[in-house]
Assembly symmetry: C2
Homo-oligomer: 196 residues x 2
């Protein structure tokens, strides 16, 4: 992957244009990598099967060179219709979105989209364990924040309320996620303690 200045970067940095700021500043990547490593550990230790969904792309043109793999020559990032992560833990359906902010005092709701709220409400109504993982990167703190609490702030915002969740509320209504060796974002420990 190349930036317009020709600098080569990791292909893992590929993100929808709405997240371009994230790519340039390298924010967001760390949390995603930490969660992927955590999920690998959960899978390898047969604790839970949770996967990140592929980034959805709209494919426009594909070349099929002879004797080699198909090459996508033109495609565009699409907005995801669900959250990024889902899977199964102790028979329960798990569904979450992970977001990182450099803000030190609150989590801006602009990180979340209406269609993600819609999806989260749908799965919650069917009995899912659904939540946000919020990392305050400057504070180096990562929280488990229940979807049900997010919905309340979302509704308030739609009715002219504040456009962010104060850190104090995240601390009070959510749970700090412990960091462990190979389990950098041990969110299942929070589920074990508070949700099952």
């Amino acid at each position: 992957m190349h930036y317009p200045n020709g600098k080569k970067v990791s292909v893992n940095a590929a993100k929808p244009s709405v997240f371009r700021e994230t790519i340039y500043s390298n924010r967001g990547m760390t949390l995603e990598e930490d969660i992927n490593e955590t999920n690998d550990f959960y899978k390898d230790s047969n604790k839970a099967i949770i996967h990140k969904k592929p980034v959805p792309v709209q494919i426009v043109q594909v070349d099929y060179p002879k004797r080699s793999a198909a090459v996508i020559k033109e495609a565009y990032f699409k907005q995801a219709s669900t959250t990024d992560y889902n899977g199964i833990y102790k028979g329960k359906y798990i569904d979450f979105e992970a977001k990182e902010t450099r803000n030190k005092t609150s989590f801006p709701l602009s990180n979340i989209h209406q269609h993600q709220i819609d999806h989260m409400k749908q799965v919650v109504s069917h009995g899912a364990i659904c939540f946000l993982i919020i990392r305050f990167s400057v504070l180096q703190e990562t929280y488990y924040y229940p979807a049900e609490k997010l919905f309340i702030y979302w509704e308030k915002q739609l009715n002219g309320g504040r456009k962010s969740i104060p850190l104090d509320a995240v601390k009070k209504e959510g749970y700090i996620i412990p960091i462990q060796f190979h389990i950098k974002v041990d969110y299942l420990s929070v589920i074990d303690k508070y949700c099952i």
Copy 2:
């Protein structure tokens, strides 16, 4: 999307190169479209929340033209590490793969990959409702085939056994999926009847 002959086709036809045969013959599309429509109906009627995962692509080069959306200029299809569909129904984690065959007497196991079997075994061990949807397109019959039965044929194949599941076995060990208006592949009715 363009074929090498320059003929334009629906972008929905974009598929990994391993499925190129499927694209050319237009096989596979119908089942996927039918399942997507079914899932939309399930979601809109608040019966279940099941989504198809995006096709995973390895993005190599992205252009960011000024004042327009990011364009993926080079990318490759990756093999999926899970099945294509998952979600939640009545609090249960649902996970399945959908395959179409023109074979009239058996379902060739070459349609399935080892990593998909691994994934299915993992989610089954955690309590998932996991299955194959198999469409015999010439016969115009679509079956729900439990993952646990698939594992048996898979193991046999690895030990030199037959490389397909006979239609008779699919009929005996699986369940025919009824077709309904707006619910072209009503697999939840099978789950209701036999699995929950």
